[in-house]
C-alpha cells in the first residue's frame, strides 16, 4: 500500500503521480461516483475506487471508515452548488436559469449516482443519501425560487400573496416526479416549458 502522498503511474506518461490533500480527494470522489453510476452501490468497493483513483486502499480507509461515508462525502463535495440568485433583469429569465441549474444538477455525475443509489437501495437505506440531495440541491433550489419571485414582486412581476411554500415546491416536485415516477430522463425536462406553463401562470399579476 503506498504511503501518502499517493504514488501511482499517470495513465498517459507512466510517470509517478504525486497528489496530496484536495487533489487526491477529488480523484477519489470522481472514481467513486463513476463506479456508482456504472456498477451501482452494491458492487462499489473501496479497493475498486482506490484502483480507479490510482491510489491505495489505505489512503481511503485513513479518511473514510466505510464506503457509505465515502459516498456521502463525494456527494457533498461534487453535487453542483445551486449558486447565488441569477440576475437576468427579468422574472422569466431568472426562473428559467434556476430551473436550468436544477436540471444540470440532476444531469451531473453525482446526480446520476444518486439516481443509481435510489434505484438500488430501499428507502430506509437510501435516506441518508437522499437527505444530502435535499439539503444541498432541492431545498436551496426552492429557496432560490422564493428569492427570485420576491425580487420579481418588487418589480411588479409577481402577484402579491401568490408565493406560498406549495408554489416554491412545484418545480422540484414536477421534475422529480417526471424522472422518478414516469421513468423519464432529466434531459427531457424543458426548463422554459416548466416556467411558461406552470410557474409563471401561478404568480403573474
Amino acid at each position: 500500500m503506498p504511503a501518502e502522498p499517493a504514488v501511482a503511474r499517470g495513465p498517459a506518461t507512466g510517470a509517478p503521480l504525486r497528489r496530496r490533500g484536495e487533489a487526491l480527494e477529488n480523484a477519489i470522489f470522481e472514481a467513486a461516483l463513476q463506479q456508482l453510476t456504472a456498477d451501482g452501490y452494491a458492487r462499489l468497493t473501496m479497493e475498486g475506487v482506490a484502483a480507479a483513483a490510482q491510489t491505495g486502499k489505505a489512503a481511503l480507509y485513513r479518511r473514510w471508515p466505510s464506503k457509505e461515508e465515502l459516498v456521502k462525502d463525494a456527494l457533498r463535495a461534487c453535487l453542483p452548488p445551486v449558486g447565488p440568485p441569477p440576475d437576468t433583469g427579468g422574472l422569466r429569465g431568472d426562473l428559467v436559469e434556476v430551473v436550468t441549474r436544477l436540471r444540470a444538477a440532476m444531469l451531473s455525475e453525482p446526480g446520476a449516482a444518486v439516481r443509481a443509489i435510489m434505484g438500488e437501495l430501499d428507502q430506509q437505506r437510501a435516506h441518508t443519501f437522499l437527505a444530502i440531495v435535499l439539503e444541498r440541491v432541492v431545498e436551496p433550489t426552492a429557496a432560490l425560487i422564493a428569492e427570485v419571485l420576491a425580487r420579481g414582486a418588487t418589480r411588479g412581476e409577481v402577484r402579491p400573496g401568490s408565493v406560498t411554500p406549495l408554489v416554491t415546491d412545484v418545480v422540484p416536485a414536477l421534475m422529480l416526479y417526471r424522472v422518478k415516477m414516469c421513468g423519464g430522463a432529466p434531459a427531457q425536462l424543458d426548463p422554459a416549458e416548466i416556467v411558461d406553463e406552470v410557474l409563471l401562470p401561478i404568480v403573474r399579476p
Copy 2:
C-alpha cells in the same frame, strides 16, 4: 388445511365462518394489506395472511403462486377507484373533489401498504407495485383533472391553451413530493390549498 369453502370461527359468535369466492378473497386481501402496513413486506408470509384471514395456506396457494402475486392482486382489488368526473357545478368544487379523492387513496389501507413497500424495497423490486399505483390511481387522477378542466373550459372558467401535460401532472407531483421527499403524512395535504394556490391560478382566464 381446511378445504374450500374456507371454514373458520367467526370472531364474535364463534360460529363457523363459511365463505367462498369473492368474500374469501376480500378477507385475504384485507389481511395481506393489514400485515403489510403493520409489519412490512419482508415479514409478510402466506401463512400469516392465511391465519389472519381465518383460512388455510392451501387456499392462498391455489390462487397465488407467491406473496408478490397476492400483494399485486390485493392492490388491484383494493386501491379505491378514482371514479367518474365529479359534477359540483363549478371548476373549483370539481378540482377540490378530485384532489380529495387522490388524498383518500393515499390515506387508504392499500395506500399505506404501498408506502410500506416503497420504503422497504429498492426501486427495481418496488417497480412492479408502483406500476399498479400509477395505472390505477395516478394516471386516472391526471386524466380526471384534464376532464374537469376541459369541462371548465366550456364554461369559460379555464384559459384556452393553459392545460398541458405538465399542468395535469402538477397535483400528483406535489402530493407525492410532499409525502415522499418531505416525509409528510398524506393527512397534512390540504386539497383546497393545492387547488387555490397552484392549480386554479395556472388555468384561470
